[in-house]
């Protein structure tokens, strides 16, 4: 029992910190959080989760227990100083967790501690041994391996003797370690202090900070690992979400640039375009950006790419942010690309959603989940520029980086279309996003001789020999074909009907850089 605490574990914090052996970890089961912590929270130790009111501390802690009970066979005790058991049950239901059921199966024990200073008269010396006995009994009665104390700082407002509370908290955290439970202790952030009463002094192994900001009418939540003793952790702020699936942390940036680079090729779906990439197409796992003004054929190229994947028997996930699935199917049928059969054979899935329907993080999570569930080999995002409607440029770029890292890691080849405005104002966006991409193609209209003709060029293709020429991009009822653009002797481009007049398609090396680049 608690009386022997001091002898049995004198200074437990010293051991973990020197990194002699890697810390054992307890997975939270929360998507993303285990990735950024390299496996979870320090096993058998308390972790401090702090943040302002409404930042999601309680729900994160609750999910840690629920997942522990459901997925890791680790029952948990939730000791609440703030919300009653009924409130917790209601809140958990919104995340899809059935606490009464878990309680009935003795996988979870909810205990609400009511401590109201106005209802207590203090008359002499006291301590918190009752809390130790209460918590100890709860832990022992269900064999708990996890504990949440939410938020124990309310002891300070319930009791007037701060010295006693401090001393008892220090003892409590030592005692928790002797009980070998993995614990989350929550604390309310106040101004410059992590917690109102300095809980961080007691919890030295792991500190997680949550934060919620409201920007442009949408709330974004951020999570940061402030401290993780003896363990590498990304110090970046990670967006996180709370929805009907629970908490998801978007950690994909932490994957870094360690993904494998494939040398296998994937067809672009257009033979003439494959040819421009040394007859083979993209590398598997490449991220491809296709940008162009309205009506230049971006979606057509995307559809060809998707269809070619299905032909190979590979699954393609098509994120449509502009058109409905049936509209895409109809439009593509008109150029001879038949998508419906592949949808019926479950090789193609078109996921259509208005970008403004969700916030940026929610989009990323939704895309992440679909990719996880559906396991495509090829992904199309059409158009990625619509994401800008829901986030600032930097956020969109960060989000894309995470998405691209995720897909690269899984060797998914992805094609993103990007709508640029005719006046070139949006090219900035392209430039920002394009640095993330392995392949960048520009589609444009070349106007000459009273005609407007489509043209395509490869701006970059990492690690691949590729044509530097501008090709004419012709849409027929049998799909997109590419035609060599002829050059006249004076170096000007012969395109469209003028091309026919020109006999010999030029093979001569570098086209003048400024020339074919794009009609602006």
């Amino acid at each position: 029992m608690p009386t022997s605490v001091h002898r049995s574990n004198p200074v437990p914090t010293k051991r973990a910190g020197n990194g002699r052996q890697p810390l054992a970890k307890a997975p939270t089961g929360i998507p993303g959080l285990d990735e950024i912590t390299n496996g979870g929270l320090p096993r058998g130790r308390p972790t401090l989760v702090c943040g302002g009111a409404g930042c999601g501390k309680t729900l994160l802690a609750l999910e840690f227990l629920v997942r522990g009970a459901l997925e890791y066979d680790e029952p948990g005790v939730f000791m609440s100083f703030e919300e009653t058991a009924d409130d917790l049950v209601d809140n958990a239901r919104s995340l899809g967790f059935d606490l009464p059921r878990l309680s009935a199966r003795r996988r979870l024990l909810l205990d609400y501690v009511r401590l109201e200073r106005s209802e207590l008269t203090e008359a002499g010396a006291y301590d918190l041994e009752g809390l130790f006995i209460r918590l100890g009994h709860a832990i022992d009665s269900i064999g708990a391996k996890r504990v949440v104390l939410d938020t124990i700082e309310l002891l300070f407002s319930g009791l007037s003797d701060r010295f006693v509370v401090r001393a008892e908290l220090a003892r409590l955290f030592r005692w928790l370690k002797t009980k070998r439970v993995t614990a989350i202790v929550t604390g309310e952030r106040e101004a410059e202090h992590l917690t109102r009463h300095g809980l961080e002094e007691y919890v030295s192994d792991c500190v997680i900070l949550l934060d919620q900001r409201v920007k442009e009418q949408s709330a974004t939540r951020r999570l940061r690992i402030l401290k993780y003793r003896g363990s590498a952790h990304g110090g970046n702020e990670m967006p996180f979400l709370i929805d009907d699936h629970g908490v998801s942390v978007l950690p994909i940036t932490s994957l870094g640039l360690a993904h494998p680079a494939s040398t296998a090729h994937v067809s672009t779906g257009v033979s003439g375009l494959d040819e421009m990439f040394g007859k083979k197409g993209y590398f598997r796992g490449n991220s491809v950006l296709v940008s162009g003004t309205a009506g230049t054929g971006k979606s057509s190229l995307a559809a060809h790419f998707a269809e070619a994947a299905c032909r190979r028997g590979e699954r393609c996930l098509y994120f449509a942010f502009e058109e409905s699935p049936s509209q895409i199917v109809r439009n593509m049928r008109s150029i001879g690309v038949h998508l419906a059969p592949w949808m019926r054979r479950d090789l193609l899935h078109i996921h259509a959603q208005r970008p403004t329907a969700l916030g940026l993080e929610a989009h990323l999570v939704a895309m992440h989940r679909l990719i996880d569930d559906w396991r495509p080999r090829v992904v199309v995002v059409d158009p990625v520029t619509n994401m800008i409607a829901v986030g600032s440029e930097i956020e969109v770029k960060a989000m894309l980086a995470r998405l691209i890292d995720l897909m690269k890691l899984r060797q998914i080849t992805a094609l993103f279309t990007s709508l640029t405005e005719a006046d070139g104002a949006a090219e900035r966006t392209d430039l920002g996003v394009s640095s993330l991409m392995d392949v960048w193609m520009l589609l444009g209209n070349l106007e000459a001789n009273g005609e407007r003709n489509r043209a395509i060029q490869i701006v970059k293709a990492r690690g691949m020999a590729h044509s530097n020429q501008v090709r004419e991009f012709v849409m027929t009822d049998r799909g997109v074909t590419l035609v060599d653009v002829s050059r006249r002797a004076d170096g000007s481009v012969a395109i469209g009907s003028a091309r026919g007049a020109q006999q010999q398609p030029t093979r001569a090396g570098a086209p003048q850089p400024g020339r074919g680049r794009k009609a602006k």
């Binding site: 029992m1 009386t3 205990d111 501690v113 009511r114 401590l115 209802e119 207590l120 008269t121 203090e122 008359a123 002499g124 010396a125 006291y126 301590d127 918190l128 041994e129 009752g130 809390l131 006995i133 209460r134 100890g136 009994h137 709860a138 009665s141 009791l159």
Partner: protein, 100 residues
């Protein structure tokens, strides 16, 4: 006062083992009851060490905790009860006139 004359006071003291605080609290309570509620009180001691489930059931975290079960309403007083004046206020017992 008029209530106190007729009714029996039921007091419950929660402690955690035979600690100095427990012993002091019980002694203080005994003395106080003899002085102010002579013949009209009953004390029950709940030792949480031997009955740990009572802590949750009765919502106790601080020890010692004294609970006035009767007369209603329930009142809670925490500490070793060395501050007699506050215990009396907390229990709503009027001090006798001869006590300061």
């Amino acid at each position: 006062m008029k209530d106190g004359k007729r009714r029996t006071w039921r007091l419950r003291l929660y402690v955690a083992g035979q600690t100095p605080k427990s012993i002091t609290a019980l002694a203080n309570l005994q003395r106080l009851c003899d002085n102010h509620l002579a013949g009209r009180y009953r004390i029950e001691v709940v030792d949480l060490v031997s009955q740990p489930h009572r802590a949750r059931r009765d919502d106790i975290v601080v020890v010692p905790t004294l609970v006035r079960q009767l007369p209603p309403p329930i009142r809670k007083i925490i500490g070793d009860l060395s501050n007699v004046e506050r215990v009396l206020v907390g229990l709503d017992v009027l001090p006798r006139d001869d006590e300061e």
